[in-house]
């Protein structure tokens, strides 16, 4: 039984989001067939899709942003005109500049969050100043976050949701890039990640790189072929940001055998991959469009192969080849094993995953299955730390708190350095134990655990919770620490901070 409980711990924590509270019996179920417990989720048709009433499509969301920004601009112009009329300054109609581009979107985001969420404050205290109503972008972000959190809290094991989080971080955008990115952070994941986490890597790659959110995040909507009609007319040209990150972060990896010339050539290849703006001259506002006028004409050579296709097909052909490049298989296999198993994953496991990826033409269901079927994934010691997202979600599952408001989770993620859908760079959040086991991070987790416990402990017997999360896989020391705690509150805080709950 002890061995089964240990395997159940791996099943739930390494592959999932941890045991649920109440009568779910996750640990017992996982112990009876650990591999089967994890793999059962893969069998559900469309199990990764997130279709929740009220969540809109990417173009609909884009249109809302455009309309919102347009309204604000109109109001500003009207106010300005009124002011100018009042002070009798000469009219400056032609001076009505478009709103300044918010490249400094970090400060925008900070302001946006400011004062909105009830931060993780002590429950008692003087009344807060009245909060401003949320704008459409904040409302949407919170609705998308809520849908994702709720799915994670109710999932049986959470393996599919963990795959979603992994791939979403691999192909990350940052909501801090600007209003459109914040609005689309959730729909990007729903459109581009979820349909393919159990599908084909090349399909995910293509959908991601053609998604308006990614094109906006890495500036491709601004990149013009220098010899394209638009490039010549507007005397503008390439921006190689997206092309570089496709090769460096999404597929081949650093050292994956590409050169600066390949980056530049790919940048030319994907000129014209853009999104339709507010006035919809190129297509439905907020949707992906190929703008032939912006596309660099002529054949391009990438990684030693010449692509003579015209238009959109050229870039799709390159992506299709890069997705099947041996460097990509190696890069993905390593990253996948590092996320689930160990910072330095067993080489035999990486080789196995690389082989599966190659042989199945990037079948991500086969990749996930091979991981769970491998012995290495069950034998490696639990040296990984739960990420802040995994930690908060696991707490929510255990304490049966199906969130109705995402604020507490979002604040916790901000405090712990993993703000939802907002990594600092296009390389996503770190994925090593050291990154999440920093002194400050651990201290913050303790404070958060203590606060959760102070609010919820009366509803639980922490000794029962220990049975739910670890049973006889719990160490003697953890058991004794919880039993000897001076209060239920203290016991629950210690349980949430125990190695059994923090490690995976």
């Amino acid at each position: 039984m002890a061995r089964d409980s240990q395997a159940a711990l791996i099943a739930l924590n390494r592959f999932g989001f941890g045991a649920r509270g109440g009568a779910a019996g996750d640990l017992v179920n996982a112990a009876s067939d650990p591999r089967g417990f994890v793999l059962a989720e893969l069998a559900r048709p469309n199990g990764a899709l997130l279709e929740v009433p009220g969540l809109l499509s990417t173009p609909e969301l884009g249109k809302q942003v455009f309309d919102y920004q347009f309204e604000i601009q109109q109001a500003r112009n009207a106010a300005k005109a009124a002011q100018q009329g009042a002070s009798e300054t000469p009219p400056q109609g032609s001076d009505a500049k478009p709103p300044q581009r918010r490249n400094l979107s970090l400060s925008t985001a900070a302001k946006e969050i400011a004062g909105k969420d009830p931060a993780m404050q002590p429950p008692a205290g003087p009344p807060k100043p009245p909060a401003q109503p949320l704008n459409i972008i904040q409302k949407t972000f919170r609705a998308e976050a809520l849908a994702r959190l709720q799915r994670g809290v109710v999932a049986d094991c959470g393996f599919v949701e963990r795959l979603v989080v992994f791939w979403s971080n691999h192909f990350c955008i940052s909501a801090n890039k600007g209003a459109l990115a914040r609005m689309w952070a959730g729909s990007f994941e729903r459109d581009a990640i979820r349909p393919h986490v159990l599908g084909r890597f090349s399909d995910m790659l293509k959908t991601v790189e053609q998604h308006p959110a990614m094109l906006f995040f890495l500036d491709n909507q601004q990149s013009l072929g220098p010899e394209s009609r638009a490039g010549i007319n507007r005397n503008r040209g390439l921006n190689e940001n997206l092309a570089r990150e496709i090769m460096e972060l999404h597929t081949l990896g650093v050292g994956g055998g590409y050169t600066q010339d390949d980056v530049t050539a790919l940048a030319r290849v994907i000129t014209g991959w853009t999104l339709a703006g507010r006035r919809g001259q190129l297509g439905a506002p907020g949707s992906f469009v190929f703008n032939a006028n912006a596309h660099q004409p002529g054949p391009q050579q990438v990684l030693g192969k010449t692509y003579a296709q015209a238009g959109l097909a050229q870039g799709e052909a390159v992506l299709s080849d890069i997705a099947r490049h041996p460097s990509t298989a190696k890069f993905i296999a390593t990253k996948f094993a590092r996320h689930f198993v160990a910072d330095d994953p067993p080489p035999a496991l990486v080789a196995k995953l690389q082989d599966i990826f190659t042989k199945t033409d990037g079948d991500l269901r086969a990749l996930a299955t091979a991981l769970v079927q491998s012995n290495e994934a069950w034998q490696a010691p639990q040296t990984k730390m739960r990420s802040p997202y995994e930690f908060l979600l696991a707490s929510g599952r255990l304490l049966a708190r199906n969130p109705e408001d995402p604020g507490r989770y979002l604040n916790g993620l901000n405090l712990l350095g993993q703000p939802l859908w907002s990594p600092a760079g296009p390389n996503g959040f770190p994925d090593t134990a050291a990154a999440w086991a920093a002194p400050e991070g651990i201290k913050l987790r303790l404070d958060i655990s203590a606060q959760l416990a102070s609010q919820l402990a009366d509803r639980f017997d922490p000794r029962d919770l220990l049975e739910l999360i670890a049973a006889d896989a719990a160490s003697v020391e953890t058991r004794r620490t919880i039993e000897r705690a001076e209060s239920r509150q203290q016991a629950l805080a210690l349980l949430l901070m125990s190695p059994e709950f923090q490690r995976r």
């Binding site: 490249n103 400094l104 970090l106 400060s107 985001a109 900070a110 302001k111 400011a114 004062g115 931060a119 993780m120 404050q121 003087p126 009344p127 807060k128 100043p129 801090n176 500036d219 601004q222 990149s223 013009l224 220098p226 390439l238 921006n239 190689e240 940001n241 570089r244 460096e248 901000n414 405090l415 712990l416 350095g417 703000p419 907002s422 600092a424 760079g425 770190p430 990154a435 086991a437 920093a438 002194p439 400050e440 991070g441 201290k443 913050l444 303790l446 404070d447 958060i448 203590a450 606060q451 160490s475 020391e477 953890t478 620490t481 705690a485 203290q490 805080a493 210690l494 190695p499 923090q502």
Partner: protein, 407 residues
């Protein structure tokens, strides 16, 4: 301001700091020679700009006949509105940096131009690893050059206060030499007794977490009573000033840290970089403000201080198709502080003719950044050439420390 509002502001600013990507960490010990008989009590700060600073936009070679054509619409000009501040007849400083210009005139700041690490590819992440690790190539992320420099210094008393923002120590200061950090939080603290029980459990079951928690608890204690009241609003730019203000305050104290590192994110200006005003101008204004905070916060210790500002690589000499610049090679390093032998442009200028550009696209590097840092570490702390070439910057013997950087 009532209690809940101040909590809110703290929470907000904490987010802003995390979002804005500004952080500070410091060595947990005083160097043994602090408060030594000769009164020399040197301080050293390095500021890492992550994302690759456009050196040609910050200190513009306006006298180079090819500069205006390459930098196009965002090029700085020697005259007219928002003109560059001419540091000499050839180089002009970005107008968003009046404080640095003032320090330069007072001979307390210098610029090293056409500088680069040994890294010659264009990945941010590898470039930052090389910049911060001090190893000749990427892939070595266990320790940073500043941490290894600390290991070569005589260790004195432990500092009693320190502040750092961000859940992780920047690589430049990561390694065996202990460092300290702290961040303001909006959370009520877990009770001491709970923390001690958890520590006891970790000591039996998980030594790594035990060590992390021990440090986390100590730092929180040291920081209490510290009057770091964050200011609302501002995001990344305000965060730079705020972190610098806190760092300066701590480093000014007799028992505060002497050697620290800050990291500011956000310099990856691929699109709409802006010229004298705009996106880069705002960031440079934040950096300029941070340097000013150090000067005012360090007070009398400013005269013993050297600040080195460095970035992983430069950006393309020619602007790209979106009024920004892509990843490049040569860039600048800035030195500021009362101990700097300043008022100088230090460069072996390679020129911007097409044939002179690195790979026909970037400012060619003519100075190795390691020479600059080695020179400062030698002059400030007396670190020998041997230890600098073997331990601090491994395999760098041919790169000699630059002489005369410290007055």
């Amino acid at each position: 301001m009532d209690c809940s509002e101040s909590l809110m502001l703290q929470a907000t600013s904490r987010r802003a700091l995390l979002l804005g990507g500004a952080s500070f960490a410091a060595w947990a010990y005083l160097p043994k020679f602090a408060r030594a008989a000769d009164g020399r009590d040197p301080r050293f700060v390095t500021i890492i700009l992550r994302g690759a600073l456009d050196g040609l936009a910050t200190v513009a070679p306006v006298g180079d006949p090819d500069y205006a054509g390459l930098h196009g619409t965002i090029a700085l000009k020697a005259d007219g509105p928002n003109a560059a501040v001419m540091l000499d007849p050839f180089f002009g400083l970005h107008p968003a940096m009046p404080e640095f210009a003032r320090m330069y005139r007072a001979k307390q700041a210098a610029v090293v131009h056409a500088v680069a690490t040994s890294y010659r590819d264009r990945s941010h992440f590898d470039g930052q690893d090389v910049l911060e690790s001090g190893f000749p190539g990427p892939g070595r992320v266990q320790s940073g050059w500043l941490n290894r420099a600390l290991e070569a210094l005589p260790k004195g008393e432990r500092v009693t206060s320190a502040l750092a923002v961000g859940p992780t120590t920047p690589l430049v200061l990561r390694g065996p030499a202990p460092t300290v950090g702290w961040a303001p939080t909006a959370l009520p603290q877990a009770a001491d007794d709970t923390a001690m029980r958890l520590l006891d459990l970790y000591q039996h079951r998980d030594p790594t977490l035990a060590s992390a928690l021990t440090q986390g608890l100590q730092l929180e204690k040291q920081a209490q009573g510290n009057e770091m009241k964050p200011q609302p609003g501002g995001g990344g730019v305000a965060a730079m000033r705020l972190v610098a203000r806190g760092a300066a305050k701590l480093m000014a104290a007799d028992d505060g840290p002497r050697i620290g590192a800050l990291a500011f994110d956000g310099w990856d200006t691929h699109a709409n970089e802006g010229g004298p005003v705009g996106r880069l101008a705002q960031l440079l204004g934040g950096l300029d403000g941070a340097l000013a905070e150090f000067q005012s916060g360090l007070g009398a210790h400013w005269r013993d201080t050297v600040i080195v500002v460095a970035t992983e690589f430069g950006r393309t000499a020619r602007i790209n198709g979106t009024e920004g610049t892509d990843h490049g090679t040569g860039t600048i390093a800035l030195l500021a502080g009362g101990a700097v032998n300043g008022g100088r442009m230090i460069t072996d200028w390679p020129g911007l003719k097409p044939a002179n550009l690195y790979q026909a696209r970037d400012l060619a590097p003519t100075t190795d950044l390691r020479a600059v840092i080695k020179g400062v570490l030698h002059d400030q702390f007396g670190l020998g050439e041997r230890v600098l070439a073997d331990a601090v910057f491994p395999d760098s013997a041919p790169v000699k420390p630059m002489k005369g950087l410290v007055a």
